[in-house]
């Protein structure tokens, strides 16, 4: 199976989409949604694509439908929500790939350029910089990996239990 690229959108938007769908009894026509939200259609499609990859929304026909997982995320506390999303992200090939790279690396960290090159090889059609930014933002939200600009290192986040 080919690796799917991440759409350049943020987790806050994905969660906001779930919230809106919940307001609309869990289902809404995508075109109407774009009108209601005064949002460019293309941008909304990216959000829907992201939500779909994370398993929170399905798109039968021209509709966006909230999945049980999406509904559960809305009702969870902050840390449960982050845990749910983390699990969803880890099902994606891109994340698995980068994760493996980090796990095999010394001290579980690699220079950012290594990740960039890796992305360029994995997904030659995509803009590596943009993909990098999205991957980082999602990964940070899911506390999977992080990046320090001061050292320019990409690293694995230790799964720590927060009180």
């Amino acid at each position: 199976m080919p690796i799917e690229p991440l759409p350049s959108t943020g987790i806050s938007k994905v969660l906001g989409l779930c919230e809106i769908l919940d307001d609309h009894q869990g289902k809404e026509d995508v075109y109407r949604l774009a009108q209601d939200l005064h949002m460019p259609f293309g941008e909304l499609l990216l959000v829907i694509k992201g939500a779909e990859m994370l398993g929170m929304v399905e798109t039968p026909g021209g509709d966006a439908v909230l999945t049980p997982l999406g509904k559960r995320a809305l009702e969870s506390s902050m840390n449960e929500k982050k845990a749910l999303l983390r699990q969803a992200m880890l099902k994606l090939k891109v994340f698995q790939h980068v994760l493996k790279l980090l796990e095999n690396a010394q001290e579980n960290e690699v220079p950012a350029e290594v990740i960039l090159e890796e992305l360029a090889v994995l997904l030659p059609q995509e803009q590596p910089r943009q993909l990098f930014t999205t991957l980082l933002n999602w990964g940070r939200y899911g506390e999977i990996f992080g990046y320090s600009r001061d050292t320019d290192q990409f690293y694995l986040q230790k799964p720590e239990k927060t009180p």
Partner: protein
């Protein structure tokens, strides 16, 4: 419920080359302990100025601000503020931005860090401690702004159009999370003053809505919101209240 903030006959006048311009005219207002108060009004009605006067960032031209019964002079450090533009320092990481106020209070490094982490966690930012603001999306930036304001554990949280710079989806998400956060009994702050031009936002969040008119800014009406929580944005009662506030503004 006792009043925690009392504004008495607040007037604000700015000198302008073409003559004085009056921003606020004789505004008197009480903010009750534990309430969420929304201030709405058209642009230019001085609602942001009012918020800054409450905080003590701007002195009023006339009138008195009382906090917990005492007349206030200078900045009130019992308030935390969230800005429309986020107002983060681009050269500090998320963690450092949140720690700024704690350092100013002379807390030691260890306490600062612990407290910062606690609120970074609360707003869902953990994992982003080392990020710089420019690496974050708007929604994440405003979470930093919120964590920074909460970290100093203020009595009152002041929010100046906190969701206006965000897109529709992000602002819905943040609003919901703010409501969840507010329901958390462990949170020290229970009084919130939020300034907004979005009426839906005010109706969704507030216990009471104060409507301002412009030129000069003055209070038109104060409306209690008695819809049960969680509020249904699509319910007829919700829409009716939105319409009522709207009619007061135009």
């Amino acid at each position: 419920m006792p009043a925690i903030i009392e504004l008495e006959h607040i007037t604000k006048i700015y000198p302008r080359p073409e003559g004085e311009s009056q921003i606020l005219a004789d505004v008197s207002l009480e903010v009750m302990d534990g309430e969420v108060l929304a201030v709405v009004g058209p642009s230019g009605c001085g609602k942001s100025t009012l918020l800054r006067i409450i905080h003590g960032l701007i002195p009023p031209s006339a009138g008195v601000v009382r906090f917990a019964g005492r007349a206030q002079d200078g900045i009130n450090l019992s308030c935390g503020m969230v800005f429309q533009s986020f107002a983060l320092l681009p050269w500090l990481t998320v963690e450092q931005n949140v720690m700024v106020g704690l350092e100013a209070r002379g807390l030691d490094d260890e306490t600062c860090r612990k407290r910062a982490m606690k609120y970074i966690d609360k707003v869902g930012l953990d994992g982003n401690e080392e990020a710089y603001p420019r690496e974050l999306s708007g929604g994440m930036k405003q979470r930093v702004g919120l964590a920074r304001a909460l970290a100093v554990e203020p009595k009152v949280l002041l929010m100046d159009e906190p969701f206006s710079a965000l897109d529709a989806l992000t602002s819905i998400n943040l609003r919901e999370e703010l409501i969840d956060l507010w329901g958390d009994p462990a949170l020290p702050v229970d009084t919130i003053v939020i300034v907004t031009h979005l009426i839906e936002e005010a109706v969704e969040l507030a216990d009471r809505i104060v409507v301002l008119a412009s030129n000069p800014g003055r209070i038109v009406e104060s409306i209690k919101v008695e819809l049960p929580r969680p509020r249904e944005r699509k319910s007829p009662e919700f829409s009716a209240l939105v319409d009522r506030v709207f009619s007061l503004i135009v």
